[in-house]
């Protein structure tokens, strides 16, 4: 056992459990908070209530914002693909989706194909 003042990171069995404790307290908990709060706040509200309808539009706009943020300010390997390639991928995916019987598979494959092609060309 580590002396209390030796280190914040324990050793032995505790050390092997440390990553999981970190994950639970600093990863799982702060993300779960919002879902739990949502359960409490939406209690007793039917799907047709004005609040829920409004919240649904808020979620739609917020998620659309998340997507455009991923496209305009990407991280990792996606950042190496030029902006034009990323946007062309979305446009190609939407076009294939609309042209091919609103098929999600067709849309995703077309979008990915254009993205990978431009990644290869410019990357």
């Amino acid at each position: 056992m580590t002396a209390p003042d030796a280190s914040l990171v324990p050793s032995g069995l505790l050390a092997s459990l440390w990553p999981y404790a970190l994950l639970l307290v600093f990863g799982v908990l702060p993300a779960a908070m919002w879902r739990i709060l949502a359960v409490v706040l939406s209690r007793g509200l039917p799907e047709t209530s004005a609040v829920i309808v409004w919240v649904r539009y808020v979620a739609t706009a917020l998620l659309s914002g998340v997507v455009i943020k991923l496209l305009l300010a990407p991280t990792g390997a996606l950042a190496n693909v030029p902006l034009a390639g990323r946007l062309a991928g979305i446009v190609a995916g939407a076009a294939a989706f609309l042209l091919i019987r609103r098929s999600m598979i067709a849309g995703v494959i077309a979008g990915e194909a254009v993205l990978v092609a431009s990644a290869w060309w410019w990357g």
């Binding site: 600093f26 993300a31 949502a38 979620a59 995703v108 990644a119």
Partner: protein
């Protein structure tokens, strides 16, 4: 387990799982491959990577968590960043729960249901659940969501062993899955002008919002402003439709 009662649990659970496995679950699974790679890069065990998908169930938050550990961020700062990046779950969960919960569901059980909410489950759920009989929705949702979560856990585990092995364009393709899938899924679910307006405003307002309110609150502002405008347009549309039918104000 399958019997002939009209709304028995397992057949609908199975149908939900089947629908997820017929495509949507694979997009999440591949999208979370990168999380496994990052976790290994920063020296975390395989179990942590897989558990993060099962328990955090939020790609960006997982990337922040492991990325933060890798750069030596203070755990409390990591928790705060994870928290900020997950605000979207509040409106997402609030809007899908009323579709799936039954009158007698306990708060604890509702929290279990809420745990599964993530982009794919949310957008596909809102699109598909209205076509599922009310009594069967919870079973369908749990089947769909469990298929997504468990396949994604597998994808994360796979990513743990693929670290550094993926060529750039393929790594970019994995990161592109979430934006392309969400765009198609949410467009496929749009029914009326206000739905399209919410999507369009989300896209259009985000760059402006980053500039106005900064990186931490930009998405919340986009959601509140864009969502409220779309909501008001929907209300206006309802009021006009009601007036045309000779009725009064809509409920």
């Amino acid at each position: 387990m399958i019997d002939d009662k009209p709304f028995s649990f397992w057949p609908w659970f199975g149908r939900g799982a089947f629908d997820a496995l017929s495509f949507p679950a694979w997009t999440v699974a591949f999208a979370l491959v990168g999380v496994g790679s990052i976790a290994r890069d920063v020296g975390q065990p395989l179990g942590s990577a897989v558990l993060s998908t099962l328990l955090v169930w939020a790609g960006p938050a997982q990337v922040i968590f492991y990325g933060g550990l890798g750069t030596g961020m203070a755990p409390l700062a990591i928790a705060a960043a994870v928290c900020f990046s997950s605000i979207r779950f509040l409106p997402m969960t609030m809007s899908i729960l009323p579709l799936i919960r039954r009158p007698k569901d306990s708060l604890l059980w509702q929290m279990v249901l809420a745990h599964y909410v993530a982009v794919t489950v949310w957008s596909e759920g809102l699109r598909r659940l209205p076509n599922v009989p009310v009594e069967a929705r919870q079973a369908y949702y749990l089947g769909f969501a469990n298929a997504c979560v468990w396949l994604a856990a597998l994808g994360t585990g796979l990513g743990y062993f693929l670290v550094g092995a993926l060529p750039g364009p393929l790594a970019a393709a994995l990161l592109f899955l979430t934006p392309i899938f969400f765009t198609l899924s949410v467009s496929g679910g749009a029914r009326r002008l206000a739905d399209w307006l919410a999507i369009f405003l989300g896209f259009a307002l985000q760059p402006l919002s980053v500039w106005l309110v900064g990186e931490s609150f930009d998405l919340l502002a986009v959601g509140l402003v864009g969502g409220t405008v779309a909501f008001l347009v929907a209300r206006l549309g309802d009021a006009r439709a009601a007036a045309r039918q000779g009725g009064g104000q809509p409920a």
